[in-house]
Point group: D2
Chain length 339, copies 4
């Protein structure tokens, strides 16, 4: 074990996710400290910064990022603000953990990607934190090991107890299924080439006008199929499952649970109420990995390419849903930086 320094982090965005990342860096993760917090709402920035020793509050993300005691940037502001924050970090050559989505659409994601490519080295890690979940990691290791043969299909389930009031049918794709877009690409090591969105008659639990559930099919350049059931008003809890069907076997994660209880004629257990409980440790592991990499001058984890590909698949999915047909995904050639 060799000694290491402490990483000064600027957190951009002091909303729910931003404040939670501030807490995580300050209270949970060793090796890093929050040096600056930026939010367009000055009071919100100040309230969060006040809880942290030696932390300054800003309204301008660029000013926070320019602070001399900032070594790294965590972007947790709304999606449309990401591009500017990333540009500011790029100017100073700082590593960035950018919450998903990288940017709100494929065109802007591609601009970010080109900018990073011009820098000639990776600075961005996109916040696809499922890649840090213990169960997904186990599934990925199993597939990479190859003992079950080539993966033929993935079956995903993405269920939420209920959706917030502002949730739209488009957001089932852009906010929820975007995770499955990323883990499909990551688990298989393949790009998604076409998307189809099927819509059964909506659940009575779905708010007026929201087509919930949806059933999404991905085709990949490796000839695999992936399907996603997304149902965000299922009432019964939060449940994320993935099953890989390989040539010689299958593997499923996400449906076994800790404590089994017998009572009143029934056996079973509790379902997590939401993603915080289910993925809390994955968030920690994500930030820890990023801090560790940053302290040794590296950037690992999901890249701009992953953020761009997710944006492109997402756009195709929205078009497939709107037009009721299979839509192909067009990606630019993968730059050498991301190979």
């Amino acid at each position: 074990m060799t000694q290491r320094a402490t990483l000064g982090v600027a957190v951009v965005g002091a909303g729910r996710m931003g404040a939670d990342h501030v807490r995580r860096i300050d209270r949970v993760i060793s090796g890093a400290r929050v040096a600056a917090v930026a939010d367009v709402d000055a009071e919100r920035a100040k309230a969060v910064a006040d809880g942290v020793d030696g932390c300054a509050a800003y309204t301008d993300p660029a000013a926070a990022i320019a602070s001399p005691d900032v070594d790294a940037v965590l972007v947790a502001s709304p999606g449309p603000a990401h591009e500017a924050a990333l540009a500011a970090a790029f100017r100073r050559g700082l590593p960035v953990l950018c919450e998903k989505p990288l940017t709100p659409d494929a065109a802007s994601a591609l601009r970010v990607l080109r900018a990073e490519e011009r820098l000639g080295r990776r600075l961005v890690q996109v916040g696809f934190m499922r890649r840090y979940d213990a169960e997904y990691l186990r599934l990925k290791a199993l597939l990479d090991d190859g003992g079950l043969g080539r993966p033929l299909m993935l079956h995903h389930r993405h269920r939420n107890a209920s959706s917030p009031p502002w949730f739209t049918g488009e957001m089932l794709l852009g906010d929820s299924v975007v995770h499955e877009m990323d883990v499909t690409r990551w688990l298989l090591g393949q790009e998604i080439t076409a998307v189809t969105v099927l819509r059964p008659r909506p659940s009575g639990n779905a708010p007026e006008g929201v087509d919930d559930p949806q059933f999404v099919v991905f085709e990949t350049d490796g000839g695999a199929l992936a399907d996603v059931e997304v149902y965000v008003n299922c009432r019964f809890g939060y449940q994320v499952q993935a099953e890989a069907v390989c040539e010689n076997g299958t593997a499923r994660i996400g449906d076994v649970h800790g404590m089994l209880v017998n009572t009143a004629g029934r056996w079973g257990g509790v379902i997590a109420p939401g993603f915080v409980e289910r993925f809390e440790e994955a968030y920690d592991r994500q930030v820890r990995a990023w801090v560790d990499a940053a302290l040794s001058g590296e950037v690992t984890g999901p890249s701009c390419w992953d953020g761009y590909a997710a944006a492109a698949v997402c756009e195709a999915g929205l078009r497939a849903r709107a037009e009721g047909r299979r839509v192909e995904v067009g990606l630019v050639e993968r730059p050498a930086l991301y190979r």
Copy 2:
């Protein structure tokens, strides 16, 4: 408990399934006896009949069915021979348990259906024996109970360790998925209105030219979706699963198993090697239900309509697969007899 008579059964077809039904009626099921066995192969018919007290052997199904001590007919001959055997049973007004498929195509199935309709009463029970499986029955009861709300989607898995040498890509639909066609209709109480067949790059385990696995999507007249993963060379065993996604909950059958063993760093259990082990009791329950109904002058269970609908969906599926597109299913109006 009131006294009851013994049912004399003619078994048409003395191949694998026919001989097994003879054994079941003679050795397992009370209340029935095998009075006649018919097979185009005279020696095969005789060999099977010789094992049963008071059982005559025939080469002509019609002659077997015409025998005066025959009260009921079990058709287990190849599909193309079903229509004639059913006609013979219809002439004598005898109840028939007809192995699936009712007939090999929708047109002939519709002719049988019209013939039964002209008789004005149901005589035919089609051998969709999954409807008698304890787990499917539990799932059906749960859906009918309504406590989970309206069913939105069904996810089916149909996996075989390996396919026989003569199996073709078409047979994945016509021989395997036909079961899911029936249970989808039965579980939901809805007709299938369109079929799409998706085909990932075939498994290395698939014989040359067989597109295994396939992924089939059904749409129903109730607005539900059902998907079927069929993979008949998965090596690892036989596995049939069904998951119903309802408005307020989900239910899954087919993936829990009897004995759990810890050894050598792993926990788990054994997977059934084939459908005989998995559905043995369903076959028994099916025949028992049929005998009981026959002895009280009734016909219950899957009807000609179910056999016809399966044939029609199957044809649509084969077309969807061949033409690489979504194909709608056209059904004649459901006759009053089958409502």
Copy 3:
């Protein structure tokens, strides 16, 4: 398959278990028919016999057993009446399926055993039907296979939703744990040599004066330990589990279940309400095996020795419980007939 005759059975005892066996032989099991029913209550005997074609009613078990169309005897009368019924069957040399207990105590069980020994051949199968349960059979096969090494310990759980009003603390041993006494001996192929009964503070669900639950420890002549948690007022359902701890692994039966449901924040399934639902197929399998054996002139399954050993262990258990100490089990030497 060779032809076979039909077995004429006299059922002694027309109470709950007797009537159920009559139904099973008449309606479920092929190859046997109920020729006679005997019960001290003439009306009850007649009511049951009237439901079966060609079945005579008796009040005297010996008269029923003496009937010329009786080929075999099923004893389902209260325990104290067993010895006389067995003697009547022995006089005619008829095979007997005798519900557990063989007789109510070790001394009378030993008399029956000696009587059968004098006949020089086995006629009695004791109704320890767990030996016919699919899961127990799987566990037995695994232990016999030897792949997990020598069995070191067995952990049993025996839970009932509630006990009938007449149930006493002694009956937890004599009526409930007697099953674990038998399966311990059968699974291990060892005799029980000592019994200890531990009693925690009774559950609030236990009727006044009934020490429920109890925790029973068996030692065997092979150096193994077996423990039994028996709890007959657990409210939540009926649950029978067994876990074998072997040198290189463990195996558990009885805690996995058919259908898994997600709803209202919980996952799980239904627990069987009672032994009928849990062991229905084991009862069928038991009677079927007995009929098959009887038709070929054999007697298999649990023997008088098993019935006697259970009676002896039971007596030791009752003494251990009453005297609050470990009590050794004394068995006569095992006669050659039962080796």
Copy 4:
């Protein structure tokens, strides 16, 4: 969120556990830093201290503890050295996280307890880290909630793949079952009043002279029973399970696992190879809780009383094992400090 300082910790003992705690405080846990490391082996102390910024190495624990930048002490030296280290920490009034056992026997544990009692406030947290395991916490919460009624029995399983060469039959109690002694007391909120140790014929996997497995029974002052199967050469992996049997239901932890795989005729998953994998997060949670409490001037978690009670039960267990009889546990009256 209010700002907080950083806790300076002296780690006493730089062996396997000590070095791991240094890593955890330096790399995993926020809010604390390792200020001093002490080990009788000067080189080992130096090697560990060199990896940490601002950390001094000592051979004398008392010197390390006396260092002015030390705010808290973590004792991970061998058991016989604990009493002196605790005394040094008591002199400075520093909070201590002391690895189990508190001290090697009940008499010395009682001396420590009296010393802390004289201080009039709790300084010691004993390292019973299972109390921080997510599954045990869930089980504890369920029992405390009371919804299942009063706990009647606990069934524990404690299985290791293999024991280290120096492991003796006594250590199955003192090193392994000591965890079940603590969780039994903690889960029930009751003291253990008697211990019985039963020993089946040892496994062929047990080293010569080691009586492995053992079966231990605890009686409590609340009238509950707890049994522990301990088997430390089971070959198949590491497995810790606990089942609570309450008046109206049961709950079991420790036998469900993350990823389920179907392959080659079997379903199942991987068993953790050892306690590090199984309880890694519990260790983190334990240290985090201790740091958080220390920073706010509190001591929570297992106390000296818990360490003393474990030592007393352990001694009774060793006597029960050696003398082949039930041995009662005598505890001094519980001091007010620990109520």
